[in-house]
């Protein structure tokens, strides 16, 4: 939901626009390396909010580097969260099946920040109700540690060591008007 701008984040900018662009390019190359052997039978599935523009960016760069347009979709996980009861209901994002569906294909989930791993767990639950992927992988722009579940990313943009009390904000130009990663607090 593009109209929901967060309060301007205060804190230290860890990554700037050029860094984000380089990281997206590198992940795109890694994905190409990985899915080329499967004849590019893969789809990118962004997790709202900021995983969706990231998935589209990866798709565009993969097309530039490899000449193959992977289908891009989105997967809203709100209804599958384990904290609805404790933190309240929230508006739903959009789930958009990628062209050709997900059955039997390599599905690459794309999110902005990997933290506890609970979002990814919810995404796996949401995913299996849409179909039966061949393989599921996870790409994240930032891995900030503190996993609470046995989950790891297949493609990591940048590892940023943080304390639990800090907040990591990923800003993307499609939603926030600028590309930046900010760490707030100490």
């Amino acid at each position: 939901m593009a109209e929901r701008h967060p309060a301007p984040a205060v804190g230290t900018a860890i990554l700037h626009a050029a860094d984000v662009a380089r990281i997206v390019d590198r992940i795109a190359h890694q994905i190409i390396e990985n899915v080329a052997k499967g004849d590019f039978d893969a789809v990118l599935l962004g997790i709202p909010t900021r995983g969706v523009p990231l998935a589209h960016r990866l798709g565009k760069r993969i097309e530039v580097f490899a000449g193959v347009a992977l289908p891009v979709g989105s997967l809203d996980i709100t209804l599958y969260r384990d904290d609805l009861r404790t933190r309240g209901v929230r508006p739903l994002g959009q789930t958009q099946q990628p062209e050709g569906g997900i059955n039997g294909r390599t599905v690459i989930l794309v999110d902005d920040v990997l933290f506890s791993g609970r979002t990814c767990r919810a995404a796996l639950d949401a995913l299996i109700e849409l179909g039966r992927p061949g393989t599921v992988q996870l790409a994240t722009l930032v891995d900030r540690g503190h996993r609470e579940l046995p989950i790891r990313a297949d493609y990591v943009g940048k590892n940023i060591p943080t304390s639990r009390t800090q907040a990591v904000h990923v800003l993307l130009s499609e939603i926030d008007g600028t590309d930046e990663v900010i760490v707030e607090g100490s």
Partner: protein
């Protein structure tokens, strides 16, 4: 939002959020696995003191698709027919540990009264001639699907306004969403005090539909003639009613090409609506039924998925 008793309970933002949520949830109807998890472990009781097929089954499906356990209690064959008071019945049901009550009752105001007795959220599924807020939501959802944003749109609601909880809830909600409403019906079927409602009223259906009375009409909603309540000489004969207020093929031609025709059902074909109108390209009657499941899912999600009191 703790209960949904009246369409007037909804602010514009809340109404829009429910409609947006419904649009997301609508997609589940096309999926192979029609099940979403947010109400897992919650129990919803449909407590119906009046006959209903579509509303009750729509709430039942909505609850089940969100993984709630749904139990139907109808007044027939229950302890109500043994003379138990309404309060005792409701408290008994609540004491079994239900998380929400969906109530239909033949007395106006009964559902609001019930909400005062119980701790759990209560949804009004129609109380007497008073309100039917989820019907107004599904109508607004259907209209939005056809017309886009409803601000400044003009909707005509035609028929038995006096006995219609659908009309009242629709006037309230459509006003909240910024639409204009014109109520059309014979003077005998206009409710007392209708002049104080936030809408225009007319007895001349042709003038309204042609746009001569209050400007072009973007959508028309036909109300059911409630034969079970037609015992007071409200009109001379059904034939006369059909001529004056039925949506005939000729009247259909007065409407714009794109103007949808709504009917809350069940339809009396040949009385308030002709077959040409009910089955024509403008008819959105079945869209309304589909929308009913989606908006009821959105309402149950809003009331029940969170930790209780929900911040907006």
């Amino acid at each position: 939002m703790r209960n949904l008793l009246s369409a007037a309970d909804l602010s514009r933002d809340e109404a829009v959020e429910i409609l947006d949520t419904a649009a997301r949830l609508h997609a589940v109807q096309t999926r192979e696995v029609k099940k979403l998890p947010p109400l897992r472990g919650r129990t919803v009781v449909n407590l119906f003191f009046e006959d209903s097929t579509r509303t009750r089954s729509s709430f039942e499906i909505a609850g089940k698709w969100l993984s709630a356990d749904v139990i139907n209690v109808s007044a027939k064959g229950s302890s109500v027919s043994k003379g138990e008071s309404l309060r005792d019945t409701v408290l008994t049901v609540e004491a079994m540990g239900v998380d929400a009550l969906v109530v239909r009752h033949h007395a106006s105001g009964a559902v609001a009264r019930i909400a005062q007795w119980v701790q759990c959220p209560v949804v009004n599924a129609g109380d007497g001639t008073h309100e039917h807020p989820t019907q107004a939501l599904l109508d607004a959802y259907t209209l939005r699907g056809r017309l886009g944003e409803l601000a400044d749109r003009h909707v005509a609601i035609v028929g038995d306004i006096a006995h219609s909880r659908v009309a009242r809830s629709n006037v309230l909600l459509l006003r909240t969403l910024g639409a204009r409403v014109t109520l059309v019906g014979p003077p005998t079927l206009m409710p007392a005090g209708v002049t104080s409602w936030p809408c225009e009223t007319s007895w001349d259906l042709d003038a309204v539909l042609s746009g001569k009375a209050f400007g072009d009409v973007d959508a028309v909603m036909m109300l059911r003639v409630q034969r079970e309540r037609m015992n007071g000489g409200y009109f001379a004969t059904e034939r006369e009613y059909a001529i004056g207020y039925g949506l005939s093929p000729e009247r259909l031609d007065l409407l714009g090409e794109q103007a949808p025709v709504l009917h809350p059902g069940p339809m009396n074909r040949g009385l308030e609506i002709s077959t040409a109108a009910a089955d024509g390209a403008r008819s959105v009657v079945l869209d309304q039924v589909q929308a009913g499941v989606a908006v009821r899912m959105a309402v149950l999600y809003r009331l029940l998925a969170g930790p209780g009191e929900v911040a907006v």
